[in-house]
């Protein structure tokens, strides 16, 4: 047993007989920012999909707040307070920005506070306010990512999982997105972040887990990673 808010213990998973995760274990303590770092196609996204319930682990244990959540449906897991901001945003393209945000607050407890919460989101992400009645499919890449983040925040979960929030964005937009993440961390939110790019998270994360071929090959703090050129070179190509 572990005291962490989220605990992943010996998880295996795969798609159609192909194994993707081989014995993954790590903890996310309350109030921390934990990162899964590693090259593309090594299972980082699958870890998040397992936790959020979109993929069922074939073996292992996932605990949230001391209770098992593996095997539950995605809609039940988010109701427990595990919120995922998925890769590729997964917005509702034929809905307005405002309606997308309203979907974020679909759950009962979130829905009650929506009117007030959406103003907070608009303060945090003013671009969304300008675009409020625009269809999500007409947004730029950066705006889409902001909407995905805003929608996730409105779900009001206790842990926020972000899957490569910098993917496919221009450097200046990535800076904006990371400012938001730094903000969220400062507010004391628990964050599980998946990243491919070490430089972005090295000063930010309390703990970095290096994922390679479906398992965690190294873990430690940002400083340790920096002073460990061998690890950087082997797994992240320098």
């Amino acid at each position: 047993m572990s005291d962490a808010l989220l605990s992943i213990q010996g998880v295996f998973a795969g798609y159609e007989g192909q194994s993707v995760l081989n014995d993954i274990s790590f903890d996310v303590p309350e109030g921390s920012l934990i990162t899964l770092l590693g090259p593309n196609g090594h299972g980082k996204t699958t870890v998040l999909r397992c936790i959020s319930g979109l993929v069922k682990p074939t073996k292992g244990l996932i605990q949230f707040d001391g209770k098992r959540i593996d095997g539950l449906d995605a809609e039940r897991i988010v109701a427990r307070g595990v919120v995922m901001i998925p890769q590729g945003d997964m917005l509702f393209p034929e809905m307005s920005v405002y309606d997308n945000l309203r979907m974020g607050a679909y759950l009962k407890h979130a829905n009650a506070a929506f009117e007030q919460k959406v103003e907070e989101i608009y303060t945090l992400l003013p671009r969304l306010k300008e675009r409020t009645s625009q269809m999500a499919r007409t947004l730029s890449g950066g705006e889409r990512r902001m909407l995905a983040i805003g929608r996730g925040l409105l779900s009001g979960g206790r842990i926020l999982m972000l899957d490569e929030p910098s993917l496919g964005l221009a450097p200046i937009v990535i800076d904006q997105i990371y400012e938001i993440i730094i903000d969220l961390k400062a507010q004391g939110r628990t964050i599980l972040l998946v990243e491919e790019n070490a430089s972005r998270i090295i000063d930010l994360a309390e703990r970095i887990h290096l994922v390679d071929t479906g398992t965690i090959v190294w873990d430690g703090g940002g400083k340790e990673l920096q002073s460990n050129p061998q690890v950087l070179e082997t797994y992240l190509g320098g």
């Binding site: 319930g53 995605a74 809609e75 988010v78 997964m90 393209p93 034929e94 309606d99 979907m103 679909y106």
Partner: protein
């Protein structure tokens, strides 16, 4: 002028029936990629529920249609639990559900025939909701009150559906599931409730279109098949999953059918529709309002 009015009058009537039948198919396809081959028999059942209400129970006629909708909705939910519920997580659901509901539809049809033999002894039967030939004249063309009611109720039901989908929380959830099922689940939408609801809604609307159809001819156990076929043609022409598009397509097909029936001959109506659809699909393979690529995840 006479021909023109005549075409409009019967065209709108066809369109109303096709739209109500097609909208349900689109909703169900949009929500979880299910083509319900039992849709036709549910239309037929709608007509019979109205008959039962009026003839067997002798309840007031005005409530026959709501009763038929309610029963249709319940049947839709039952269809979900008999078929889709067990299959939705399997691979190739899109194909297997067609076969499953085709079989289920046949079973329901056979059951209906058996039941009718017990209940009514004779068949076909006249639709009690039919208002007969009472009519008024537009130019020199008689327009029956029956048709006015059909247009009005189709319009009313479709507007109501639109309000539900746009203006309510659960309606938004249905649209969200249609646009990105996994994303909707990540928002906490209980997708199973959405599946059951859309099938119930679709079946309720199918029941109404069955009543409409039978109010012109008679109620017959096999009457729903042809109407379902046309509803399928409508949604394929529009591009699968496009709700507004399918309304336009229903209007187009209804009007084309009426034009050919009035100007050429009754028997060429269906032929004309089929030629129209073939040409449209050669021109735009994903349907008139469909996206250019038909993507599968």
């Amino acid at each position: 002028m006479d021909y023109f009015v005549q075409i409009l009058v019967s065209g709108f009537t066809f369109s109303a029936m096709y739209a109500l039948a097609a909208v349900g198919l689109v909703l169900v396809w949009g929500a979880f990629n299910m083509l319900n081959m039992g849709h036709g028999i549910i239309m037929t059942l709608g007509a019979y529920f109205a008959l039962m209400w009026a003839e067997l129970f002798g309840f007031p006629l005005v409530l026959a249609a709501p009763f038929a909708m309610l029963c249709g909705g319940i049947i839709g939910a039952i269809v979900y639990f008999i078929s889709a519920h067990w299959m939705i997580k399997q691979r190739d659901f899109e194909t297997t559900i067609i076969i499953a509901t085709f079989g289920l539809g046949m079973a329901m049809e056979a059951g209906l025939l058996k039941l009718l033999r017990e209940l009514f002894h004779t068949s076909p039967y006249a639709q009690p909701l039919s208002m007969g030939a009472d009519s008024f004249l537009v130019a020199t063309v008689p327009v029956s009150y029956q048709r006015i009611i059909i247009w009005g109720s189709a319009l009313f039901l479709i507007l109501l559906l639109g309000l539900f989908l746009r203006g309510t929380k659960f309606g938004r959830a249905i649209r969200a599931v249609a646009q990105d099922r996994d994303a909707a689940r990540l928002m906490g939408v209980q997708v199973r409730n959405v599946y059951i609801t859309v099938l119930a809604l679709a079946s309720a609307l199918a029941g109404v279109s069955g009543i409409m159809l039978s109010s012109f001819k008679e109620i017959h156990p096999l009457m729903g098949g042809a109407l379902m076929l046309k509803a399928f043609i409508v949604i394929v022409l529009a591009g699968l999953g496009n709700l507004t598009g399918s309304l336009y397509a229903a209007l187009l097909i209804g009007m084309v059918e009426a034009t050919v029936k009035v100007l050429i001959a009754d028997k060429y109506g269906f032929t004309a529709i089929l030629i129209l659809v073939i040409l449209a699909l050669i021109w735009k393979p994903a349907g008139i309002f469909g996206r250019s690529t038909v993507a599968r995840q």
